[in-house]
């Protein structure tokens, strides 16, 4: 479990972040949450699918990296062998915590976003990497980048929800039905994964297509469809691993 504390310029003035180690956070993940803004980057190597959150049953977008829990086929020789690192891994070891704050003067409730750091992260160092704060306690350019990345993820949650809502409203989702036989004859059936129903897409009314276009959802939808082919390169990776 992550050991999260709020970042401040007193306690965290002297620590450095070795960003090249952020990828270790993903070495055991077979599905990594993905946001709409990074779909085109992800699609170069990973299938982008939907799955359901185990606690809430709600759909989430995810890049697929392996065929079973704990398997990341892009993690080899203690390194991430991929061109693009998903934002959810890039952002390590930083998180955002959202807490409601009572505004005493206006009796309204605001939410406060705090940048937190996972103190157990292997990226934290005192020798290698980037400082978060200057000698005077001001934020470094690096830390500004960190915050920008986190804000991208926050915006991504809103964009994702819009995509998922439209996909459900227009009934464009379908379960992935795929049984794979690997080179060693081991069989696996993909469970709990969903993708976009191409045939349904083709039957949308002009009004529906126009709506998707206006919301900027056509690009992510077709990117997801195109990324499905990457399942075959994943199978290939798995077979290579089984051979060696």
């Amino acid at each position: 479990m992550a050991n999260l504390v709020a970042v401040d310029n007193k306690n965290h003035k002297h620590i450095k972040i070795n960003n090249t180690l952020a990828e270790t956070h993903g070495k055991n993940l077979h599905l990594i949450p993905a946001i709409v803004a990074e779909f085109t980057n992800l699609a170069v190597q990973y299938p982008i699918l939907l799955t359901k959150n185990g606690d809430t049953g709600q759909f989430v977008c995810a890049a697929m990296l392996g065929f079973e829990s704990g398997e990341n086929l892009f993690w080899q020789n203690e390194q991430w062998q991929g061109i693009y690192l998903p934002l959810q891994i890039q952002r390590q070891p930083f998180f955002i915590s959202t807490t409601p704050v009572k505004n005493t003067t206006q009796e309204t409730e605001n939410t406060e976003h705090l940048v937190c750091i996972d103190l157990d992260s292997p990226t934290i160092s005192t020798s290698d990497g980037e400082f978060l704060f200057t000698e005077k306690g001001a934020e470094t350019d690096y830390f500004s980048q960190v915050k920008y990345r986190l804000s991208q993820i926050m915006q991504g949650e809103i964009d994702n929800q819009q995509l998922i809502d439209q996909l459900q409203e227009m009934a464009l989702l379908q379960p992935v039905a795929l049984e794979i036989t690997f080179i060693n004859q081991q069989k696996t059936r993909l469970n709990g994964l969903y993708t976009i129903d191409k045939d349904k897409m083709a039957t949308l009314s002009p009004e529906q297509v126009s709506k998707l276009h206006q919301l900027g959802l056509l690009l992510p939808i077709y990117t997801m469809i195109a990324s499905l082919g990457q399942i075959y390169s994943l199978i290939d990776k798995k077979n290579m691993q089984l051979k060696s």
Binding site: K52, D55, T56, G57, Q58, Q168, A171, L173, Q174, Y194
Partner: protein, 530 residues
């Protein structure tokens, strides 16, 4: 808008085309039937059939039946209802069968289950005979536990699915418990807003007959005459059209099923985290039995008994004892149960659905399922013209007379297998004179072989052979296979099924959430449609 006033002469000139269906009565039976007809016959379009529902603003719905069968899932789907909305708005929870406690000898350890999942491998090969042979040696294992994993799920208070399971899909077969008053309101809203049913709140004062004996229209107090080609009687116990107007006789089955009174009460949970049972609990008492149904926000509990064997005062005491400190004598509702049904259900152009057709004690939750089956058959076989209606009417009557008889037999089965001797109620129930011949015949056959699909060959069966097995062997009935051991020729298959059931029990009980946990999540997040 559709015109609700059609002239009878116009109809005749059109060869009696069925254009308007009038449903009288607006309880669950009324709305469910109107809804199925309207959904199938596109009442929301101009080409569709008009469905008009006239409901008295003054007569309250009886509100019986909080237990359903898994058929309710297909009924809701046919009506185009979202499962999430239904569960949220009808205080509904999951039901995975019934637990019968104290039905055999009345001791504290005396219980068995009638689950909704068929015995392991039932479709491929029946293992009841093998279980009986094993039981002879080991003795004391529960049939439902050995052949079905659902009992363990219920005993642990687990749900039949997870929040990730799509709407109406099951990991383990399930039905619902629901608040019948809320369900009627929910159906009304859906039917009027989505299915194009015309809703008239008015009292029916007179029934007007056409020359051929059909009902031409019903006269209402403020909305004039409402004409139609088919009238569906959902007027509850008063049976206004079929009973009062057509005088179709009532066939009592009091001589078979003795229960004639229900005392019902609503019981709050201890707190917000109290477990919600995912099965109906039916506990045998001195002159009947107590139902206990867990909804999301309260339990529905009731004692059904025979007034011949218990005074009302005694019955209240027994109910009070069962409910405990939360018992409130003032809030107990007394409902008479007149067990039986009309001699036919479809007369001329009038068909009765729900209590107007008949009623039985709620032992196997047969009330709502009969409404669903009736509504389905009317919707699917709705005649196009008056001329073909008599053929459909005959079919309907044959089908439902068969179903009522089968249900009566099946309910009686629970009583004749009891060994209780604490009250004449139980011993009189075992008197052969009170047992229908059809059930006696089955019991004779089952002396030497277990219930099988070939005992139930009609298309209109309501209970499968597996249900009879669950009751028979749950209550300790011994089928004697000693003359037929040569039939037990595939022990390997049978042992595989027993092992598979054990494995499923392990998997299911370690992965399913608690019933309450899932219901809370449905409130918060809802199910997805896929």
């Amino acid at each position: 808008m559709h015109s609700t006033q059609t002239n009878i002469n116009d109809n005749l000139s059109k060869n009696g085309a069925i254009e308007t269906v009038v449903v009288v009565g607006g309880g669950i039976a009324g709305w469910l039937t109107a809804g199925r007809v309207a959904a199938r016959h596109k009442s929301h379009t101009t080409e569709g059939i008009n469905v008009v529902l006239v409901e008295s603003p003054t007569i309250p719905a009886v509100g019986v039946g909080e237990g359903t069968w898994p058929t309710m899932r297909s009924t809701l789907i046919a009506l185009g209802i979202s499962e999430t909305d239904f569960i949220r708005e009808c205080d509904a929870s999951f039901k995975q069968g019934a637990k019968f406690a104290k039905w055999v000898d009345g001791t504290d350890n005396d219980f068995y289950y009638h689950p909704l999942v068929l015995p392991q491998g039932f479709a491929k090969g029946d293992i009841a005979a093998y279980w009986l042979a094993k039981d002879q040696k080991s003795c004391g294992n529960s049939f439902s536990n050995d052949v079905c994993f659902q009992e363990a799920i219920c005993e642990k208070g687990l749900a039949p699915k997870t929040i990730r399971t799509p709407e109406f899909d099951a990991i383990v077969n399930y039905a619902y418990h629901l608040d019948s008053v809320k369900f009627a309101i929910f159906l009304q809203k859906h039917c009027t807003e989505k299915l194009g049913i015309t809703h008239i709140l008015d009292n029916v004062e007179k029934i007007n007959t056409a020359g051929n004996g059909d009902i031409a229209s019903v006269s209402t107090k403020n909305n004039g005459d409402i004409c139609g080609e088919l009238f569906i009687d959902c007027t509850g116990f008063s049976s206004l059209l079929l009973g009062k107007h057509y005088q179709v006789p009532f066939k009592s089955c009091k001589d078979i099923l003795f229960i004639d009174t229900a005392l019902a009460i609503q019981v709050p949970y201890e707190d917000e985290e109290s477990p919600i049972a995912s099965h109906t609990i039916s506990t045998g008492q001195e002159a009947g039995w107590i139902w206990d149904i867990g909804l999301q926000h309260r339990r529905g509990v009731g004692y059904v008994y025979s007034s011949k064997y218990s005074s009302e005062q005694q019955a209240r005491e027994i109910l009070a004892q069962y409910v405990g400190t939360k018992f409130d004598n003032a809030k107990v509702r007394k409902i008479p149960i007149n067990s039986g049904h009309r001699e036919k259900f479809w007369q001329k152009n009038c068909v009765a659905v729900g209590l107007s057709a008949g009623f039985l004690e709620p032992l196997e939750a047969s009330a709502l399922v009969l409404v669903e089956l009736s509504a389905q058959m009317i919707a699917e076989q709705l005649p196009t013209t008056r001329r073909s209606m008599d053929i459909v009417a005959k079919r309907f009557n044959d089908t439902f007379l068969y179903r009522w008889d089968k249900i009566i037999d099946f309910l009686k089965l629970h009583y004749i297998l009891s060994k209780r001797v604490d009250n004449r109620f139980w011993s009189d129930n075992r008197d052969p004179k009170s047992i229908p011949q059809s059930l006696k015949d089955l019991m004779e056959l089952w002396q030497y072989r277990s219930p099988a699909d070939h005992d139930f060959t009609s298309n209109n069966e309501v209970f499968p052979a597996a249900s009879y097995q669950y009751i028979l062997y749950g209550m300790g009935f011994k089928t004697d296979y000693s003359h037929a051991f040569h039939l037990l020729d595939d022990w390997q298959y049978a042992e595989q099924q027993f092992a598979q059931n054990e494995k499923m029990t392990q998997t299911m009980t370690s992965t399913l959430p608690s019933n309450r946990e899932l219901l809370n999540k449905i409130k918060q997040y809802g199910f997805s449609r896929l």
